[in-house]
Point group: C2
Chain length 701, copies 2
């Protein structure tokens, strides 16, 4: 029975990829518009490709070095031989998900703008289809990689007794998460630095100093800005969510053995994910609207798709779990529902804090009238405050999932339930990512419309799509942040299980009570708590430094290129793209190395207790900072847009200037540091798992 | 032997108070200067008194309510009858420390300005003596209250067997911390909101819009700003450090019983504190300089005082500990040294990040050339980054103190050592607080000099004193932050001991392993981690809202009062003072109630395990946010001063405007939210201790 159901995973994977291919070809068939539009789209495409090529070469060095270190650990007996390869496939597939998504996006920007000439709905269809390609590629590749290793490892260990085989399969698959997570971190950090350096740099000189509009073709940083949308918001997001998706699944699967669930428990999250793929594909058919639909109708159309998928999942999951888990099905099902509903609630909370329809952002816009200082202070306060409801929702999910599925009497099953809540939350990823990824595509379309001087209604339509994307992106962020916290906690439990298994295997006596008041745990918590701060310091510093370089370059071009402001001469776009690319590559190294080194160094000094504390501390502060930065950034962004829509003095007023400064600060918050933190807290867990055996045998205290 | 040594505590206390009285009367004997100066000093004094009076009336309601709740708990058998009274004395003495310090400061501002007419050294002497009054009053009152309860409770429980008596004494004294901490929180938050609302409001209109200098008498918010320096930076700081001082001592004493140390272990931190008082008094005699000393010589003079006190403590502590603790003396002595040295190292790290002599702040000033956005982003990065070395130093102190005094084999003694490190760090408080508190006095003196149109060299001298104060304040902040983290951790251990004792007493079986992976602990950690964020949201929001009201009022006065800008008409100073007072009172309620309610509500749902997690989570994020905010704020402040000194374009340049915005953001960071967080993390521990018995018997999960 389990084997038959497990086939759903590879089948779902292939179906997702085939459907993605179909959508991609249908988008490619639409026209890219005027020669002017084709030319700009091509420039963006070239810049984005060049960037990714350079990024992947840099990342390849990192993967090669880690691969060699892993081989040494294999040789020394700290690791099985499959781990290094699982690590590589995780990285390659994560990168591939980002690459395909980005390629699709660069092919869709101009097409969306061109379709928006006809109607709002036309634009929506192209952008949404392109977003759906990314969503389906992410889940398709994720399930493909998971299925491959699941079948392969079960075959390799086929002669072992059940429990040994299952543990071997899950612990090897867990290692594969490190590949996905490190690739995702590189993509988010590198892409995030690129896009925000370009964006902030372009705005600081263009909007603030020269007084020209956003996306004005006279601004030398404008192509870099558009490339950035693709490499940061699209490729980065793809790799990021690939990581979240497989991370939640492997972490939950890894808890199955100690939860006493056997191979059914290992397969269950993958099968549930496969159900999610089918549901997402069906959901995409619900996204359709009349030719002349209003924005509210379009939003309802998008939401209908997500809700249809959620409903299908909710209905299909219970019989599935009943087959796999028998009497434990109900508890785990409640955990899934908690995850699904909780994810949506986090999305609503995010919207409440960041949308200009609610008082937080309205008051922020009002504060702009008294200057940039109050805007920054209040925006920070919005971000800080938004942590409260989201943390409470996540805590409620944890408690419901834990007590419903196991409780203190069946403790390990309870933790498995917490993991499953994350899987449930991400099960609709195929379609939620589609509604999320189409935002940057619409943004790009707007840029292209502006640069090619399309009639104003085209820009209005792409702006409407973009603003629609902001709303759905808030929900998407809710899922990403919530699932990251749940997965990080699941990974701490998985880490403890790994250590317990390894210690038993090697005959090492070890205290795994992990008491708060064990000084190794406690110091680990403090060190863990500081990591997200240091990480954010590096990424923000990097954006500021790179943006300053762009500012200097743009000022230079305005000064030196005669006729630029008059529109008679063309700026040197490529120079800005080059600066961003070089800066992103240079600056992404330090934060990533810290993430990888911290758990190993902490482990060598404080042992596995210290590492456990580190993971908890990093999860606690990383989770809060991620929420704070995302929502403060979102609120600043929307407060600015709200003023630009004619409120509080409108464009060009003192309030607008103050709001632009707020938005500038918010940019690295919400698109560089914030989202990277979600990956960071999982990456350090993954690194800890990979080096578990080594740290167990070699530590100071 | 122990009883004789214990006499040092009341003796030290009285000596400190007497010496403070002597210093106060000698300051009072100096002249307050011209009638003009007397008048302004009087206005500031009246405003500050009125504020404190109103604050204490508000706080009295809080104390009355909590007192009644405590009496109910006493009646229900959850608390001994002495606790409510200990709570009240803690609050009264903490408030008194702030009040005396502030009164002294309001009497010294004009006197410092007047003395600075003669020489820099003359100004230093008055300001430093006034600061020393505050330092000595804080330690004197602290030791007085501690001694009183120590002797009284020992007498009350004289018939009980040793262990019971000691536990009863320490647990009642621990409760007294809640009074001190809640008073301190009110003082810091209320005073912090007042001072920064006035400061930000005055700067936003005065400096940025009207282009008049700081402390210009035409600015209607200028008296409020000066009042703020006294009620926030002086009275708030006094109550705050009173709380830190007694908090570290009672927390350490509370660990003595389970560490197997008996009454000697309880007395040891008090006796060590008494030694610190003698050393501090001696240290003040080292602070003297030539009449025409340079600033560097003055700094050296101040430092000589602190170092002399430190050396005396280091030398006197070992024989003392040997007498009290026998064979365990060496380990605890190492813990004390770790605290003393570590505190200084944190101070140096703080200086490295915030002083304009080092690259962090210099680069921040340079970033100002590209606009306010980069200034904010980079300043945040400086704050984030500064967490790293400080966290590492605190972790090193914890590990050294723990492993030197007990280690995993004598675990409870190890934790006692961690507590003692905090006591060691704060043992020089009598003199470090003097060097710290004189800063705001010098700042006020500068304001008075400006407003009364003194010759420029007077302002130059007070500015030199103020900038000297910035450097010593960095060290002072290091001690406050470091000791807060250590004390908070000690309090978690004390809380667990309390619970264990209560559970045994009531025959309740309870799991106190406090594992990270216990969902109650884990959810507690997340809820705890979010508290400092919510708290900061409230305080920052409060400053922004109040500053906006000041902006509106100042703009109104500039508009409506004819002849104001020409200096022919006087502004309505009192109106701004009133607004700040009312706002501070209104806005300080919510954050304080959250701090008090959070541990009780969490406890009622998640039990004592949840509370333990809460304390750890709040300590981890509160510690980081406090460092981040203090240092980002310090760096922005000094970057602005660095530009005003003529660098990067100097006063009036675009860079200067951007730096002023940075400073505006930094104001609530460093003087409202940041320092309050140090108190917050201890207050929630104290509240948890007070309600321990109630929560133990009444909880959901």
């Amino acid at each position: 029975m389990e084997l038959t159901l497990m086939l759903l995973a590879p089948v779902g994977s292939i179906l997702a990829l085939v459907f993605a291919g179909y959508l991609a070809s249908s988008v490619r068939k639409t026209s890219e518009g005027t020669p002017n539009m084709v030319e700009i789209a091509e420039a963006v495409r070239i810049g984005a490709r060049a960037y990714l090529k350079r990024q992947y070469s840099g990342v390849a060095i990192f993967f090669a070095v880690v691969f060699v270190i892993m081989l040494v650990l294999v040789y020394l007996g700290y690791m099985v031989i499959y781990v290094p390869f699982a690590f590589i496939t995780g990285g390659v597939f994560s990168g591939l998900a980002g690459f395909i998504g980005m390629t699709m996006a660069t092919f869709s920007g101009a097409r969306t703008a061109n379709a928006a000439k006809g109607s709002l709905n036309g634009g929506l269809r192209v952008a949404f289809s392109a977003g759906a390609v990314m969503g389906l590629v992410v889940v398709g590749l994720g399930l493909l990689d998971l299925s491959f290793w699941y079948y392969f490892l079960n075959w390799v260990y086929r002669a072992e007794p059940d429990f040994v085989r299952i543990s071997a399969v899950t612990s090897t698959m867990l290692n594969f998460g490190m590949g996905a997570s490190s690739m995702a971190l590189f993509a988010r950090v590198g892409g995030g630095i690129f896009t925000k350096a370009a964006d902030v740099g372009a705005d600081l000189v263009g909007k603030v100093e020269a007084g020209i509009p956003e996306d004005d073709p006279r601004n030398p940083a404008v192509i870099a800005d558009n490339v950035g949308d693709n490499v940061g918001d699209v490729a980065g997001m793809g790799a990021d969510l690939y990581e979240s998706y497989v991370g939640s699944i492997v972490a939950t699967a890894a808890l199955a053995p100690t939860a006493g669930l056997g191979i059914q428990g290992v397969g269950a999250p993958m099968i549930m994910a496969a159900i999610g793929v089918f549901a997402s594909i069906i959901g995409t058919f619900f996204v359709r609207a009349e030719e002349k639909a209003s924005q509210a109708v379009l939003l309802a159309a998008l939401r209908k798709g997500v809700w249809a998928a959620s409903a299908i999942i909710a209905i299909a999951t219970y019989p599935l779990l009943l087959t796999l888990l028998g009497s434990r099905a109900l508890g785990v099902f409640i955990a899934v529902l908690a995850g699904l509903i909780g994810g949506n609630m986090i999305g609503s909370a995010t919207e409440w804090f960041t949308s200009d329809e609610y008082s937080w952002t309205k008051n922020l816009a009002k504060a702009a009238g008294t200057g940039a200082g109050p805007v920054i202070i209040r925006g920070m306060a919005v971000g800080f405050m938004s942590c409260a409801p989201i943390a409470v929702i996540v805590c409620a999910i944890i408690l419901i999932a834990f007590y419903a599925s196991g409780g203190m009497t069946d403790y390990n099953l309870g933790l498995y339930g917490v993991g499953f809540a994350a899987v449930g939350m991400l099960s609709t990823l195929g379609i939620t990512l589609a509604t999320d990824a189409y935002g940057p595509i619409a943004d790009n379309a707007g840029g292209i419309a502006e640069m090619t001087h399309q009639p104003p209604e085209v820009r209005e339509r792409t702006d409407a799509l973009d603003s629609l994307g902001n709303t759905t992106a808030a929900t998407g962020k809710g899922f990403a942040i919530g699932s990251a916290a749940l997965t990080a906690i699941t990974l701490i439990a998985a880490y403890r299980d790994q250590i317990a298994g390894l210690a038993a295997q090697r005959g090492v006596a070890i205290d795994l009570s992990l008491s708060l008041l064990d000084p190794r745990v406690l110091v680990g918590i403090i060190i863990g708590a500081v990591l997200p701060f240091v990480f954010s310091a590096y990424t923000m510093q990097a954006v500021a430094a790179s943006a300053q370089m762009i500012v200097v370059e743009v000022r230079r071009q305005f000064r030196e290129i005669k006729g630029l402001m008059e529109g008679t001469a063309k700026p040197d776009y490529a120079r800005c793209v080059d600066i961003c690319t070089a800066q992103a590559q240079k600056e992404m190294v330090a934060p990533t190395l810290i993430a990888v080194a911290a758990p190993v160094v902490t482990g060598l000094i404080l042992g596995v207790q210290g590492v456990s504390g580190l993971l908890m501390g990093a999860t606690a502060t990383g989770f809060m900072l991620a929420i704070m930065m995302s929502n403060a950034g979102g609120s600043w962004d929307n407060a600015k847009k709200y003023i630009e829509a004619g409120n509080e003095g409108g464009k060009g007023s003192e309030a607008h200037k103050a709001a632009v400064i707020g938005d500038t600060v918010g940019d690295p918050f919400k698109d560089t540091s914030g989202p990277s933190l979600n990956i960071l807290i999982k990456l350090i867990s993954m690194v800890s798992v990979v080096f578990a055996s080594f740290v167990l045998m070699n530590h100071l205290l």
